[in-house]
Subunit: 249 residues, 2 copies
Amino acid sequence: MSGWLVVAGLGPGNEALVTPEVTTALAQATDIVGYIPYVARVAPRDGLTLHPTDNRVEGERAAHALEMAAAGRRVVVVSSGDPGVFAMAAAVFEALEAGPDTWRDIDIRVLPGITAMLAASARVGAPLGHDFCAINLSDNLKPWELIERRLRLAVEADFAIALYNPRSKARPEGFARTLGLLREACDDDRPILFARAVSTPEEVLTIVPLSQAKPEMADMRTMIIIGSSQTRVITRAGAPILYTPRSVI
Amino acid sequence: MSGWLVVAGLGPGNEALVTPEVTTALAQATDIVGYIPYVARVAPRDGLTLHPTDNRVEGERAAHALEMAAAGRRVVVVSSGDPGVFAMAAAVFEALEAGPDTWRDIDIRVLPGITAMLAASARVGAPLGHDFCAINLSDNLKPWELIERRLRLAVEADFAIALYNPRSKARPEGFARTLGLLREACDDDRPILFARAVSTPEEVLTIVPLSQAKPEMADMRTMIIIGSSQTRVITRAGAPILYTPRSVI
């Protein structure tokens, strides 16, 4: 069996953020599997079959990729950002674990990518320069109560907090609740970054104090970073810098 | 003033994980600043001055880089991994904020890289596939009591936990204490990943249940990932797979 399966991270959107390791895997592939806009980032060529699929079919998509690899194809499952952060890698391993034993012999590799929170952080400074956490705000796959509990504990631990998928289609009020919870626990001037479409031509970066943050500032393409109590804003003629010092004072 | 300052992430060690954006910046630089082993990763060439410095001089190194950029040089400060995660970006902004007002006019950019936890995660599967946190276990810049408090809250939140710098030179017993704390709060079979020198020829990946984890399994080149209560190990003829499912059961 000469097939293999690679789960590759394409980074946040800018092609200059795709690692050479991923570029090489894409060049060797016979099949590309993934969500439509991510597959669209791979140039068509002879001998390459593109398999774009809709969102919310991660399980079927993963099983299809495993089937093709088991049949000898060289398959790349593409994710935005890093495939291991709220993306396709976990879905592939769920399918592998639930599937036939022979799938465990597949040559399978995960290739990391620049995940959205690190791209967003870099664009404004270094808000994740001290201890931090990453929470998926979508309640498609976990109860909202657990999300809220994690948010409260993350604030208590004084982590900077990166929020992925802040506007769940299933429960759009989740981020409004998050802001309410933060207002109970944090000072009014706690800085919040809204980073939309990071690294693309549509990029918009907005830093506001908690008191001015509004639910409608986030959409499905927005990454949010909530500063810790130590996070600082440096004002200057150019865009402000947001960063968290290394030391705790 | 035509100088600029870039803070660039070189990734965990493998050159195939360096982004094209970083490669371009290195090619345009007149000066490379950083810790000795990271500067050694940049090939010498005419017109390029290398400024390798010892560890624990981050503040002076950052100020030197800012001075040179203000004087018109094209300076790249190199970090391992991602410069915004327990690396040089925060040190540069600390120096900038404390320095002369004119430094605020410097053209300064942070270029993200593949941070160690994402490289380690990818090498074994997807242990960070659900909510997670990253904690620097070094107590050089924060009190140990705060680290311990964060660890307890992170376990209570049921995050997967990535530990950077697990063996502080100043307090080598920190990781032993961490294991003691985890044993009080977690089941014996909680999986722990020790990922040493990830992506390099010296890479060693070890997955053990908490009951078998020992302090001496970590050194300064080791990244540790502690699974959440949901993290699973898939056994097979090849290396085991460690991953955290997307759904909470």
